[in-house]
């Protein structure tokens, strides 16, 4: 369902362009989970952003569910983000002025696929039912990340992208959030691509891809 072929990306630097990705390729099947690991600056997050349509590649191809993202314009990529992809951010990125219930259903409503029962089931599975009327600032970090996962899965995306999903959580909360996320992703049949430094998180995935200096060095 995802095919990344020889993707390159560079950013302007003080001494000219800095190459972040130097021809990375990967494939991901529906329902499969993959951990992107590597040191800081190795290009993990950049690759995640390109796959999610948040940024555009300089070269290569990214084909998601048969659609090549590379030539798409801003509006088309926004549609892909709404309907095919769900992103779980390290900083949660919840909407502070909406309560938990509204945050969970938010992306599904944007995509026009909101399902009240599914939202309630997700909230229940994520242990958020008692907190539905609360606002993000009233929640702990672990609870906020669970809301973010709920928001992503409520839209039933084909591909879930997670950027250090437990990076802001303590070990215990992180483990609990991870377990929930893997369970729910498996239930929805979505593929999961996660960026992580954590060996423990990576070990829970079907496959791992190590990035070094913008290149995939091990599978």
């Amino acid at each position: 369902m995802l095919n990344v072929v020889d993707v390159t990306k560079s950013y302007p630097g003080a001494d000219g362009p800095v190459a972040v990705l130097r021809g990375v390729s990967l494939t991901l099947m529906a329902g499969e989970t993959l951990a992107l690991t590597g040191e800081s600056g190795s290009g993990k997050s950049t690759l995640l952003h390109l796959v999610g349509g948040l940024d555009t590649a300089d070269g290569g191809r990214i084909v998601l569910e048969g659609t090549d993202l590379t030539p798409l314009g801003d509006g088309e990529r926004a549609r892909i983000r709404r309907t095919l992809v769900g992103v779980v951010f390290q900083q949660f990125n919840l909407i502070p002025s909406l309560n938990v219930a509204a945050n969970i259903s938010f992306q599904a409503r944007l995509a026009g696929v909101s399902d009240r029962d599914w939202n309630a089931a997700l909230a229940d599975r994520l242990g958020l039912t008692p907190h539905l009327a609360k606002y993000p600032e009233q929640l702990s970090g672990g609870q906020q990340q669970r809301v973010a996962i709920g928001r992503t899965l409520a839209a039933r995306p084909r591909l879930v992208l997670a950027d250090e999903p437990t990076g802001n959580l303590d070990e215990k909360s992180g483990a609990a959030v991870l377990a929930l996320m893997l369970d729910l992703v498996a239930e929805t049949g979505a593929a999961l691509l996660t960026v992580t430094h954590s060996q423990r998180l990576a070990s829970r995935m079907d496959r791992r891809l190590l990035l070094e200096d913008g290149k995939a060095v091990a599978r």
């Binding site: 948040l54 940024d55 801003d74 509006g75 709404r82 002025s97 992306q107 409503r109 944007l110 702990s140």
Partner: protein, 802 residues
């Protein structure tokens, strides 16, 4: 998608109702001041339009005497007999308490019915109207003013403009003391076939095309432009609040915008939603503002009406009429103001990179580059101002000059305050002092807009205050010179005038006849006065430019004097020549100041005047009377001649009346000044309250290190006072510069006279105290809030691990 996006955006305001209130308050206040002024202007202009066309029908050509005098009744009869369809009209002014009454005498039998104001037809053809006592057709409010006056009974009619009375021509001739005379002849149709040409029947008359009658509107344009300028200033100050509130709301929602975009909302839809949100807010606030503007206008209109009556003789209704166009314009300006305030923020959203860090940056953090841009923009505006000052650019140019100066000063304020705070920081001792100065500089960007608003309001106060006080000082001295006669008397008829002269001769030290005619000088309305050769004029008349032997030459009919307005308008200074009726190319011997008079005026010797206008009645006299004899003489005139009190005005009353007119002229300005200052105070309050919610991360560490909440609150108060004081220091030279421009450029362009500038430091101390008080009051609520904040909230700042 649109519903969800809109919900996310609007939920921000639900969670921050105070911010919403600030935005609405700023916009509503700005709109209120602007639309209030516009309502006043619209009402005044509507009144001018009604008054301008004395006759209600279509504009008609008229026949007028070439020499500016009146027309003999025989000429009228000759024209009628020759087949010219003319209707006689006489116009004049009757002195009344609260302003002169414009009397229009018409002949209801030769004037088409439609030419009289709507609904007067029956009243104007009745027996009472044309009878010997006669009737006056007036507006209801004018009828109230006529109560007790020695005039024919009044018939109130809604369709008549205020300040005008219609009477039968015979009655009007009697009331004006112009028996057998006609002001002009109205051509009601085409002359009969074969009718002899005009120059054969009445060569002394000339035919004039239908006039727009917009003289009053032209005269009062400058007054309304002044009002508009102040309305605009108030609006601009209000927009600073709007800009602050919108800027903050966008900044706080920056992470939300990124999240929305990351979740699939397109840039176009996000911008469209933001614009829709702002438009809805602007429409609501605009509607509230227009309603408030209505209240402002209702409060100010009576003063404006009195000013216009006293200063220009223009009658304006004291009540407002609802005009749909005014509502639409008011709401439109609110939407436009919001668009202007939000343009920068919307542009930033349009360029918002999707992947930039999502943390909110410090609100309006001032980078060195931004400050440099501000200085560069300010310098460009100063250059524009200098260019305008050096080239004659009219009244609008004068206001653009003022605007450029004010905006330049506002742009320069943040860099100046930065520099001042950096300088003051050098004197700090100890860590507390260092923290205070550093923290104050960090607060500056968030407060900049409010401080700019304060600067504008203070500078406007100082500038306008200096202008008004300078004017008052000059005007009072000028009145003493100009109103030298102790008593002014107006006779009812020329026969009575002759009797009066005989009676007064032994009882006065001098009798100074005052004869005048209204006439066009150049292309504008003006007046010519004839004055006697008397030491009163030689000793007192306020000449501002004079050639040799001024008064001898005027008395001998060899030269004339012109007022400053005419001199500046047509460049008529001593040595120039002015063309007067009878083709007299008169040399100008001197120029005199003539404050408060919107008309061009020429002063000629009495003999010259009589030669030009032999028919002009001699009804008014200035009397020189020994001190203490005024009251007795006044009473004697009442007893002996039955002169109504309104026909005798003593010097003291006249001075008082003139000063009252003067004070009223600036009542509206003063009110707008106070309102502008209040809006600036509001801007500071809202900025401080908004900042208070973002201050905790900066204050919590200092509190944790051992400073009490009370001490922190006091420092916050001190900071607000310090910034207001520094702003006042900057506002002072800006205000004085503003006063100079008002006196040397705007007044000359608007009124035709230039005034010397005086400074009044005691006023500045008063204003300084007031602005510090406003700053203290504005900073008190957030300071109190801080002094009582629960420690748990301060500790919350450190609980980032949640």
């Amino acid at each position: 998608m649109i519903g969800a996006g809109l919900q996310a955006l609007l939920s921000h305001w639900m969670r921050r109702p105070f911010q919403l209130l600030t935005l609405m308050l700023g916009l509503a206040t700005a709109t209120a001041l602007w639309s209030g002024v516009q309502a006043i202007n619209a009402e005044a202009r509507a009144s001018y339009d009604r008054a301008a066309g004395v006759l209600a029908g279509p504009p008609r050509a008229t026949l007028l005497p070439r020499d500016g005098d009146t027309i003999a009744q025989d000429t009228y009869l000759a024209l009628r007999r020759a087949g010219w369809p003319v209707s006689p009209l006489i116009e004049g002014r009757l002195p009344l308490p609260g302003g002169a009454l414009r009397l229009v005498g018409v002949d209801p039998f030769t004037l088409p019915r439609d030419d009289l104001p709507q609904g007067t037809g029956d009243a104007a053809t009745g027996q009472d109207f044309i009878g010997s006592e006669g009737r006056l057709l007036v507006a209801p409010e004018t009828a109230e003013r006529l109560d007790g006056a020695d005039l024919p009974p009044a018939i109130p009619l809604e369709s008549v403009a205020p300040g005008i009375a219609y009477a039968d021509i015979g009655v009007a001739q009697r009331l004006l003391g112009l028996d057998g005379r006609i002001s002009r002849l109205v051509l009601t149709g085409k002359p009969a076939l074969g009718a002899p040409p005009l120059d054969r029947i009445a060569p002394e008359l000339e035919r004039r095309a239908p006039e727009s009658g917009a003289d009053i509107a032209a005269l009062t344009d400058s007054f309304h432009l002044n009002l508009t300028a102040f309305g605009l200033l108030s609006f601009a100050v209000g927009l600073f609040i709007v800009r602050g509130a919108v800027g903050l709301a966008f900044e706080q929602r920056r992470p939300v915008f990124r999240t929305l975009r990351a979740l699939g909302l397109t840039r176009g839809i996000l911008l469209a939603l933001l614009m829709a949100e702002l438009t809805v807010l602007a429409l609501i606030a605009g509607a509230i503002g227009v309603a408030l503007g209505w209240l402002v206008a209702t409060m100010l209109l009576p003063d404006v009406a009195a000013t216009l009556r006293g200063l220009y003789g223009a009658e304006v209704q004291g009540t407002l009429t609802l005009r749909p166009s005014w509502w639409a314009t008011g709401i439109g300006i609110a939407v436009a103001g919001t668009a202007l305030s939000a343009a920068g923020s919307l542009w930033q959203v349009a360029r918002l990179p999707l992947l930039a860090p999502a943390q909110p940056r410090a609100w309006a953090r001032a980078s060195v580059a931004a400050l440099r841009w501000q200085v560069a923009a300010a310098m460009a505006l100063v250059a524009v101002a200098i260019a305008l000052a050096l080239t004659p650019s009219g009244l609008v140019g004068g206001f653009v000059l003022l605007g450029a100066l004010l905006v330049a000063a506002a742009l320069l304020l943040p860099p100046l305050l930065h520099a001042a705070l950096a300088g003051l920081a050098r004197f700090s001792r100890g860590p507390m002092g260092e923290w205070f100065w550093a923290d104050t500089r960090q607060q500056l960007p968030g407060l900049s807009l409010a401080l700019m608003a304060l600067l504008l309001a203070l500078a406007a106060n100082i500038g306008v205050g200096t202008m008004v006080s300078s004017f008052r000082l000059t005007f009072t001295g000028w009145l003493d010179q100009r109103l030298a006669s102790e008593l002014y008397v107006t006779a009812k008829t020329e026969a009575q005038a002759a009797d009066l002269l005989a009676f007064l001769a032994p009882r006065t030290t001098a009798i100074l006849p005052i004869k005048s005619v209204d006439i066009r000088i150049g292309d504008a309305p003006g007046e010519i006065y004839g004055v006697a050769d008397d030491p009163t004029y030689r000793d007192n008349w306020p000449l501002i430019a004079a050639g040799p032997d001024v008064w001898d030459r005027v008395a001998a009919g060899q030269a004339v004097l012109v007022n400053e307005q005419l001199a500046r308008r047509d460049g008529l200074w001593p040595g120039s020549r002015v063309t007067l009726p009878g083709d007299w190319d008169a040399p100008v011997a001197g120029v005199y100041s003539d404050y408060g008079n919107p008309l061009a005026q020429v002063l000629v010797g009495l003999a010259s005047f009589d030669r030009m206008f032999p028919q002009a009645p001699e009804l008014r006299f200035g009397l020189r009377v020994p001190e203490g004899a005024v009251a007795g003489l006044r009473q004697a005139l009442i007893d002996e001649f039955g002169l109504p009190p309104d026909n005798m005005v003593d010097q003291a009353s006249l001075k008082q009346f003139s000063l009252d007119v003067f004070e009223r002229t600036f009542t509206v300005t003063a009110a707008l000044n106070v309102l502008t200052l209040s809006v600036a105070g509001l801007a500071i309050l809202t900025s401080l309250l908004t900042l208070a919610t973002m201050r905790l991360p900066q204050l919590a560490p200092v509190w944790a290190l051992g400073l009490t909440r009370r001490r922190l609150a006091l420092l916050e108060l001190l900071r607000a006072l310090l910034l207001a004081f520094l702003t006042l220091i900057v506002a002072l030279p800006v205000g004085l510069l503003l006063a100079f421009v008002l006196l040397a450029v705007i007044n000359v362009q608007a009124f035709g006279w230039r005034l010397p500038m005086h400074v009044f430091p005691s006023d500045w101390i008063w204003l300084g105290g007031l602005s510090l008080l406003a700053a203290a009051l504005a900073s008190l609520p957030p300071a109190l809030q801080l002094s009582r904040i629960p420690p748990s909230r301060l500790l919350g700042v450190f609980a980032n691990e949640r």
